[in-house]
C-alpha cells in the first residue's frame, strides 16, 4: 500500500524543522496515522500543520479544542432548533433532515473533494475521555449519522496533526494509534536558522548577541516561565524596530516585557539587569 513518496514534506519557506520532525511527519503521511506532536509552548506545534498544508498545497481544517468540546462536535451537529423553527414558520423542507445536519471539522475533512490536512489543536484541553471517543473515527475514518441513518466515509484519509501540551495524560489506546514526536527546544544553530527565515536581513552581530542573551535567560532555573521561540521572534522584531545595537544589548536587556510574561520573572531578571548591567549568569 505504498501511497506517497517518503520525502514528501521537507519544511516550507517559513518553517524550519529538525530532520527528526521531518521524518516523523513523513512517516505519519506514509502510514496514514495521526501525528501527535508535543513540546513546550512556543515550539511551533500548531504552525507545523499550517506548514504541512502550505508545503503540500492542501487545504487545512483547524479544529480548536476547548474544555467544553465534545468529540461529537467534530463529527456533526444536528440543529434541532432551526428545524423546529422552520416547521413552525414553513420555511424550507422540514422533512429533509439532511438540511439540518452540519458537519464538524472531522466530518468536513472526510467529505472533502481532495485530501486535506486536519489540525486538532490542543487535544488535552478537552475532557479526559475525548481522545477515546475519537478512536474509532480516526481509525476507520468513517462515522455514522444517527438522524439520517447514513455513514460518512472518508474519500481521502486526511493528514491528521494533533497537538498536545501534556496538561493531561492521553489514553494508551489512543497513543498506540498515533505517530508521536516531541519537539525539543531548538538549539542555538537551529534557532539561528529559524530566525533567519523570519528576519532575513537581520545583522549577524545582533543575532549572535541576542541569541546568547536569550539562551542565558533560558538557563535561569528560577524563571517560572521560560521564554519560547515565538517570544524570541517578537523580541527580535522589537529590537529591530527600536534600533538596538549589539553593544546596547551587552549593556542590558531592553524590552524585557516581550520575553518574560510574569512579574516574578521580570523582577528577578530586572534586579540582575539593573545592577550595573551585569550579565545574566
Amino acid at each position: 500500500m505504498r501511497s506517497a513518496p517518503f520525502t514528501q514534506f521537507a519544511g516550507s519557506d517559513t518553517y524550519v524543522l529538525s530532520p527528526e520532525l521531518r521524518d516523523a511527519v513523513n512517516v505519519a503521511i506514509a502510514l496514514q496515522r495521526p501525528l501527535l506532536v508535543r513540546g513546550e509552548p512556543g515550539t511551533g506545534k500548531t504552525m507545523l500543520a499550517y506548514s504541512i498544508a502550505r508545503a503540500l498545497s492542501k487545504p487545512l481544517l483547524v479544529w480548536h479544542v476547548k474544555s467544553t468540546t465534545k468529540a461529537r462536535d467534530g463529527l456533526y451537529v444536528y440543529d434541532t432548533v432551526q428545524r423546529l423553527n422552520d416547521a413552525r414558520f414553513g420555511d424550507g423542507d422540514v422533512s429533509d433532515i439532511k438540511r439540518y445536519i452540519r458537519l464538524g471539522c472531522l466530518g468536513q475533512a472526510f467529505v472533502a473533494e481532495e485530501q486535506v490536512v486536519l489540525l486538532i489543536d490542543e487535544i488535552d484541553k478537552a475532557d479526559l475521555e475525548f481522545p477515546n471517543d475519537l478512536l474509532n473515527e480516526l481509525d476507520e475514518m468513517r462515522f455514522y449519522i444517527l438522524e439520517t441513518d447514513e455513514w460518512v466515509v472518508a474519500r481521502h484519509r486526511p493528514i491528521v496533526v494533533i497537538t498536545s501540551n501534556a496538561e493531561k495524560e492521553l489514553p494508551d489506546a489512543f497513543l498506540r494509534r498515533c505517530i508521536f514526536h516531541y519537539i525539543d527546544f531548538p538549539g542555538p544553530e537551529l534557532m539561528a536558522a529559524i530566525v533567519r527565515v523570519h528576519f532575513p536581513t537581520l545583522a549577524e552581530a545582533l543575532l549572535a548577541e541576542a541569541l546568547e542573551r536569550f539562551y542565558a535567560l533560558r538557563r535561569l532555573d528560577a524563571l517560572r516561565k521560560k521564554p519560547s521561540t515565538s517570544e524570541l521572534l517578537d523580541w527580535l522584531q522589537a529590537l529591530i524596530v527600536g534600533g538596538v545595537t549589539p553593544a546596547q544589548l551587552q549593556a542590558g536587556l531592553p524590552f524585557l516585557g516581550v520575553l518574560l510574561k510574569n512579574e516574578h520573572d521580570l523582577a528577578l531578571v530586572a534586579k540582575d539587569n539593573g545592577a550595573g548591567g551585569r550579565r545574566v549568569p
Binding site: D23, A30, L31, R33, L128, E169, R177, F180
Partner: protein, 385 residues
Amino acid sequence: MFLDFFYALRRHRVPVSPTEWLTLMQALQQGLAQASLARFYTLARAILVKDVGYYDAYDLAFRETFQGIETPAPLLEALLAWLDAPHAAALAPPGSAAAALAQLRQLLAARRQREQPGGGERLLGSGGTAPLGHGGQHARGVRLGGEGGQGSAVQVAAARRFENYRHDRTLDVRQLQVALKKLRHLQRLGAQEELALEETVAETCRRGGEIELVFRPPRRNSAKVLLLMDAGGSMSPYTPLVERLFSAAHQARHFRAFQYYYFHNCVYDWLYRDMARRQRVATAAVLRACGADYKLLLVGDAYMAPEELLEPGGALYAFEPNATPGLAWLQRLRQHFHAAVWLNPMPAQAWHHPTIARIRQLFPMYELTLQGLEAGIKELVRRRP
C-alpha cells in the same frame, strides 16, 4: 525482524505493544527507514514511543541493540567496484549465478542514478524487499551514504539527550485522574443553556404547534473536594505517590471546588499550604471556609507515637505546641464533613499500629492504590440518609 530490539525495549520498561510493533514492520515494508540506521532511529521512536519520558529508555535500548552496527559510507561504491573487478566473475559459478550478479550490478547502478543527485543518500534494500539486502544484515539498517551532519544513530542514542525527561512511575497520573473522575455529584446548575428536547416537543404540542422552547441548565459536577496530605517524617518514602495523587486531583477540572493542605503526622491547630510548611493556616479557619458538603480526602500513614495522637502538646514541633490533641482535631474533621475517607499509602497488612487502629475507628481507611482510591471514592459519593 529484530525482535531482540523489541524485547530490549520491553526490558527497559518502554510500554511497546504488538500493535505498534506491527506498525513499525509496516513502515519498514514500505521502505520508510531507507536502509539508514539514523532514519530507523527516528522512525522507530516516532512509532513505538509515545511519551518523552521514555525517550531515554529508548536511547538505552537502541544503543544496547545496535551498538557496533555501523557501516562505512562508501560501501555501495565498494560493492560496485567489487562486482566490476574480474575476480567477481571468476569466483561466481557459471550459469544463473553469474547472470544474477550482472542483474544485481544493473539494479544497483540504476538505483544509484534514480536517487536525487546531491542528496547524498542512496537506497539499498528497502527493508528487505529489494533484491539486495534481503532480511538479515541489510534490513537491520546498514547505512549507505552520508547522512548529512546528523551524527550516526548510535551516537545520537548514546548522547542520551532525553535523560532529564525520564520518569519511572508506578501508578500514573492518568490512572488516578480516571479514578477521580468518578468523584462527582451531578446536578443541574447555572444558566439555562441546554435545550430540553422532550419538554420542548411536549410543550409545543400542548400549545397546538406554537413553538415553545424549553431550556434547562446543563448537568455539572458539584463535588467539592478538600485534600489533606501528610508530608514528611515517615511519609517521605511515599512522597512521589502522594505528589501524583495531588497532581491528578489538581489537574482534574471537573470539581466545582478543590482545596488542599499539608499536615505533619496528624492534623493539629495549623495546616500548611506547602510541603515545606512555611505558610500556615489555622485548621479552624479551613473548617469555617469549607462547608460540610466538601468531600474530605485525608492522605497519610496514620503511623505515629500514641502521644502524638492522644496528648495535648503532642505535636512534633515544640514551637507550635497544640492545646488540643490530634485525635480531637480528627474528630472535629469527621463531624464537620458529611463524607470523609482516609487513604493510607502503606499496604493494608501493615495496619496494626495502635494509632492506625484508632484512626480507622474514625475514618474509613483505604490503601492508596488504584483499587483503594476507587473504593474510597465509592464511599465518598455514597448517598447518605
